[in-house]
Amino acid sequence: MAWKSLIAMVIGSLFLTACSTVSTPATPEPTTPQTSPSTASSTATTPSNTSTTPNETFSLQAQVDAVDAAQGGKLVRLFRDPPTLDPHLTTDNISGALVNEVYSGLVNVDLDLNVVPDLAETIDVSDDGRTYTFHLRSNAKFHDGKTVTAPDVKWSLERVTNPETQAPVAAQYLSDIVGVTEKLNGSASSIEGVRVVDDRTIEITIDAPKSYFLAKLTYPTAFVLDRDNIEGKGNDWLRQPNGTGPFKLAQYDIGEILRLERNDNYYRKLAYLDEIDFILSGGTAMLMYENNEIHLTGVGIGDLDRVLDPSEPLNAQLQTAPSNFSVDYIGLNVEQPPLDDPKLRLALNLAFDREAIATQVLSNLRTPANGIIPMGFPSYNTNLSGYQYDPEMARQLLKESKYGNDLDNLPRITLNISGSFGANVPLDLEVILQAWEQELGIQVDIQQTEWATFLQDLHARRYQMFTIAWGADYPDPENFLDVLFYTGSDNNQTNYSNPEVDALLEQARVEGDQAKRFELYNRIEQMILDEAPWVPLWNSGESYLLLKPEVKGYYLTPMTIPKYRHVYIIN
């Protein structure tokens, strides 16, 4: 495999955790790679990590596992203050990136994006697919050397589902477990479906044979914590968390520095690095990188031209990363006229040229989204017939729609976007709106709302047309198609409803054969696209990262997974 395509494949940028791609207002920070803009490169179209790509035998994880480097060294990078270091409260990607290094759970996601046992050594699934038996590793220890036991796992699940813990996403990730809903709403004092078999064996029963259950269990919500470390200490335990991850928290000064050091009690291959310094006090990343103050930085648009220039010395340190798993889209509320007619919705989809906008307006920092599932994601369908630019057909469809005879009296359409600090309307949207007006004669007004209000109105289904992005929370198509399109789902903001799609979604939830399951999802995706409740816009694409030549084994991934233990520094 060519070096370049390897790099492109593995230096996938961007952490994805719960809804991480949304534009929450935050400190302006063009510095860290996970906030860099991105688009997919041509080399990224054949990723190794999806089951839809056959004959791909390359395994990054295997390659990384084969490395045997010397311990030592310190990695320094810029970062931001994490909103929390409590895995059970983690909902954002900044916290997630750190939490994934300090703690761990029964399962996690490896560099090939496969769900693999972690604290568990082996996992048995019962014939009916409902009972999972986890056998813990005999050498699984907390940072302080204490052995991780099945009661620790149970206690952690009980803690995160205790209403007093106020874990925001406990239900999202764990409610498949029998009894979690009852525990969360206070009608049960413990989770019925979690049973300690013996000190090293724990059994979890779920409500239906859902093959994506293990994928959900990789989220920090399900991480294992030490009861002795936490109980009776209020929030003080977060200063010295006794986790199980490859690194432990050595120092944390808010707004200044967060330092991790190697956990020598780690149950898998130990990390190479002695320390990692996350600088929190800000700074100009490019400048710091060029002054050798930090080992890596994302490249913002402002510096891109310079580092892309082959005569620039930095160019040799430039790495590209394929797209992350998110999709920007315009949501169409299918209950609100005139968006209640699928033909009109299709017309909107065909009336503008995604390729041209991506190239000319977005400088190829984003790639046109073919459908709902992002490129490279499990079940991604290369044969999907996505929306092609066809203004003729668009006009035809508009004419055939029930509004076709009286276009002058088309109900007004308002597109709602979130934006703070007087942000401009993104240029790509302006171009799309203009195309709609020119090709179809449909005028759309724009209304910009600050994030908190936007969320409230979005969830209340007050918007006729809105734009937002959805990022993967776990590597399973259920996270897109079921969560966003099942009738009545809390996150189905377009009010899309199709009984046939619902039936297929229900079938896919419990289908045991993964290949069949993905085929079902491919069918479902096509059916949804044919009715067009979305105008899919872009997948985030290639991003650029500068990495010092002495740093090896640093792999950016399209999801937040533990990764620093693979990093080493050569002299």
């Binding site: 809804c19 302006p28 929390t84 969360l184 977060l238």
Partner: protein, 315 residues
């Protein structure tokens, strides 16, 4: 004077109550829900409701306010919503020194430029220098931050490329210069005008004429007789500025990415992090009120003709 101070001090809690209560209630009625923001785009009404109940956000506003203010009275500003598990006090303690350093730098610029320019203008009253400085200060005072900040950035960072655009490195870092100028420039104007006006008033006083008549050198007249008296109103404004030291300059900190109180407050506003917003408001109000009081108390020492609360200043 004792009763005067007592009366003023008694007003402090009343003012604080009004300001904090109004802020608290406005937060309750504004759009957006801090719990929903924690969940982000993911919608889970049951989870939102559960956490709201745990936090007591569904109770009567008066009950919530009482609970909150009881904590504040005991020095407990509660826990941040967005930085979970962190006390508001801890978060602010990290931010206040940053804002204070920035504001101090701005104050040094304001005073360091304002007093000499004002004095010079007054002493050369009617000259071209005087007219120019009056016009310039009027202009500088009228310019809003969102104008001066980009213009200074354009000139010093982009065109001349001599100053960095963004970030924070402490008091002795070059990154403090531009934001301090942005905050300091309107201050230069205010202090220039104040110094000029009060100097003009003072130079015509009898004691200045007396000082000159008894043969004192011009330098001694200016420093010992004119400046000392002319600075009384300037000290007043400085007092306000000092009160502002601990509070952030919202827009400037946002613009230059300075991790001070102002930036935290803006983040908190967007995250509906009410405990932090409340703390910023309460601390800011307290400092303002107390500084005001201190300034009033300082007057008699600077000008013996002023008596507090007596109403015998005449006129």
């Amino acid at each position: 004077m004792g009763t005067y101070i007592a009366r003023r001090l008694l007003w402090v809690p009343v003012l604080l109550f009004l300001v904090s209560f109004i802020t608290f209630v406005l937060g309750q009625f504004g759009p957006g829900d801090p719990v929903q923001i924690l969940l982000g785009q993911y919608s889970d009404p049951a989870a939102v409701q559960r956490i709201r109940e745990q936090r007591g956000l569904d109770e009567n506003v008066a009950v919530q306010y009482y609970r909150y203010i009881s904590g504040v009275v005991q020095g407990d500003f509660g826990e941040s919503y967005q930085y979970r598990g962190r006390s508001v006090g801890e978060l602010l303690a990290k931010r206040i020194p940053v804002s204070a350093q920035l504001n101090l730098a701005a104050l040094i610029i304001s005073v360091g430029l304002g007093i000499p320019i004002g004095l010079f203008s007054a002493l050369k009253q009617g000259s071209i220098w005087d007219t120019t400085s009056v016009a310039a200060t009027l202009l500088a005072q009228s310019l809003p931050v969102f104008f001066t900040a980009p213009v200074l950035l354009l000139v010093f960072a982009l065109k001349l490329d001599i100053l960095p655009t963004h970030g924070w490195g402490g008091f002795f870092d070059s990154r403090i210069i531009l934001p301090a100028l942005v905050i300091g420039i309107p201050g230069v104007a205010i202090i220039t005008r104040l110094t000029r006006a009060s100097t003009l008033e003072v130079v015509h006083q009898d004691y200045v004429r007396t000082a000159r008549a008894k043969g004192l050198g011009e330098r001694a007249v200016i420093t010992r007789h004119i400046l000392r008296n002319a600075l009384i109103p300037v000290v007043t404004t400085l007092g306000f500025a000092l009160a502002g030291l601990a509070s952030g300059s919202f827009i400037v900190e946002l613009y230059f990415g300075i991790p001070g109180v102002g930036l935290l407050a803006i983040e908190s506003l967007f995250a509906r992090d009410y405990p932090i917003i409340m703390a910023v408001v309460i601390i800011g109000t307290t400092l303002f009120v107390l500084a005001n009081l201190l300034i009033d108390l300082a007057y008699p020492f600077l000008d013996p003709r002023i008596r507090l609360g007596g109403g015998n200043i005449g006129g």
